[in-house]
Symmetry: none
Subunit: 206 residues, 4 copies
DNA sequence: TATGAATGAGTATTCATTCAT
DNA sequence: CATGAATGAATACTCATTCAT
């Protein structure tokens, strides 16, 4: 019971933190604000989190886990490499659209900033890349793609998607452009960028 | 002479600000820090910049202008759409690599955050997109690309590149991946993503 | 015990604030000064008062309450309107003389300045006027005074007294004038100003 | 010519200062503000005024002079003591109503605050009291009033008027009270307070 | 006469964190 | 588990004033 309550408060704190972190930005974020929002004393936050960075780190980890879970689901439900890749792209985009706060938190702090916390935790984030790398490797094995460095390609894929969602969520998109259309076009471009490398290189051979 | 001195200090302040803004992030950035770093009283900053936002805005504007100039140079020196597009990508990437601080500043603040400064200035940033849009339109005219929405495609292109350089500069890249290789691969993917859309759609026709 | 300590510090802060507010004026008054004077960190003030205005407002309210209490006591202990009025004048003057700081604080900020705090609280100040108005009304009923607008007359009475004490406390009085004598004369004038209006108008009738 | 220009700028500065001083209050008042408002550099103010206090002092002196002039005019145009006193009251009130800013400036700083400037200048302010004292003395001589201490009575008169106008200008008047009515009543009370003292004391004699 | 540059001091306020309870 | 008290450090910004030009 008490366990439950504690967990509750911890979760409430994380929830408030999430909201503040993205709504008010890194600048407007403070433990005091989090405590105030949660209706608890500022000191109480320290019962659940060592310090500010620890709280933020927890937030980042949670978001990364959730995103990874989505990618894992795709990985488990599809087998064709091309379909999987498309599935990854869609899962990624949907997560960003459905949980913009959480998504943005993932990219909030770079490893550099997080001096106070172990880099080891950042490794965990790489699980998502493994699904991607694995899929690309499989595609190469099946002669669908021609990627000499699958891991590099996986990072490429991820980076391109990130760029797209980053532009969308930071509201930097030209008002004359339809968001939905933009995302679809982008995914289409990115996927075809992979497929076609093979085609391109075959072209001259013909 | 005195002119020179004044300009000097202003520039020095901007320089310090640039460094702090990216190294310490939006959080650790403060006018006092800038002043301290420049070896000048905190008050002096206000002689050259109305307030914090004004200083930051100047920084952003400078960076955007410089990047745009580079793109313009490419636009002026190349005529073939595909080559131009490649040139844009390379210019973009090179700017980001040569001036990582300036590059990151461009994406530091979203229009949302900059409440104190005119949105009109953000429009200026769009000049780069015009070069891109123009080039893609030309490619479509020459039947090289098949893009129904050139402007959307331009944003797509830009967003992908941004994602790539963002990953590079925030040091999020897996240590086992060679940065140079990663960037080249990424550019290659992005460019081919454009070219091949035509090829793809022709494929079934064969 | 701890209760006591807290209340103690709060009171000490209010005390220092009172002194500074009147001695240095609205200008020289600052929370930091208050803290310094109280021998406490500047931040500590914010534990007891939301902000500067809140502290000042508390000060004003306290003074008004105390003055009103004195008037109420007079109201309760005397019944004859003329004697009551004289009692009011004396109570008012004595309060100003005994608690010059508190008295001056009452008139420090006009409703205009206090933008951050509810006007509703200013209404509280009017309780004193009610005693006056009531007394004048009673005098009119008893045919002692001939005041067509008792409320207006109450404000008149109050304003005249305020002018007198204001001159005394701001040390604007000519050095050749005895303060005690000045106050007595003034009260006498003010009271007779009320009584005599009736007399004056009766005169011609004779 | 240049003389003229200089005088112009000095006057403009005083004008801006007057406006700021009362509109924004003592707190919002600053030399920089004055300079800004006048469209001149902050440093320029120091050409015409030694420092902030000197500027403010000049303002106070000017206002006092103007008020005294009005009283002097009344003194010169009326001879009957009672009429003169009434004339003084009306002149005083009218000046406060027509030039609220200037009027309030007179009472802005008490001698205590003006540490940086000679008390001697405050003596000048007393000229107004002399007209009053003189008039009361004359009334006593003509057996109209019975004031043992004419100078004290003069200060009494002045203080009451000040209280009245102070309440009006600081907007402390109850909204249900008509300002015009209030002022008239107040003047009437104050004047009768003088007249009637004689009457009162005669009364018992009858 | 007028100004731009520069500064030290000061202001309100917020924050992360510690400590005793 | 939870909190109130307390603080040192920091921040943006404003100001009065001086100085060299």
């Amino acid at each position: 019971m008490s366990r439950n309550n504690n967990q509750d408060l911890r979760d409430k704190l994380l929830q408030s933190a999430r909201e503040l972190l993205v709504s008010k930005g890194y600048r407007g974020f403070s433990l005091r604000q989090v405590a105030r929002e949660t209706g608890v004393s500022a000191t109480s936050v320290y019962i659940y989190f060592e310090n500010k960075d620890h709280l933020i780190h927890t937030l980042i980890e949670q978001s990364i886990s959730e995103l990874n879970e989505r990618l894992e689901k795709v990985y488990g439900s599809l087998t064709d490499p091309e379909e999987r890749l498309k599935g990854f792209a869609e899962a990624y985009v949907n997560y960003a659209l459905e949980h913009p706060r959480e998504y943005q938190i993932i990219y909030l702090a770079s490893p550099e900033d997080m001096t106070r916390y172990p880099k080891e935790k950042f490794r965990k984030a790489r699980r998502g890349y493994e699904f991607l790398t694995d899929t690309i490797k499989e595609a190469v094995r099946q002669d669908i793609f021609d990627e000499p460095y699958p891991r590099t390609a996986a990072y490429t894929f991820w980076a391109q998607l990130h760029g797209v969602m980053s532009v969308v969520l930071s509201k930097r998109l030209d008002t004359r452009i339809d968001q939905q259309e933009f995302i679809e076009q982008a995914i289409s471009h990115i996927l075809h960028g992979f497929q076609m490398r093979t085609a391109l290189q075959q072209k001259p051979n013909i």
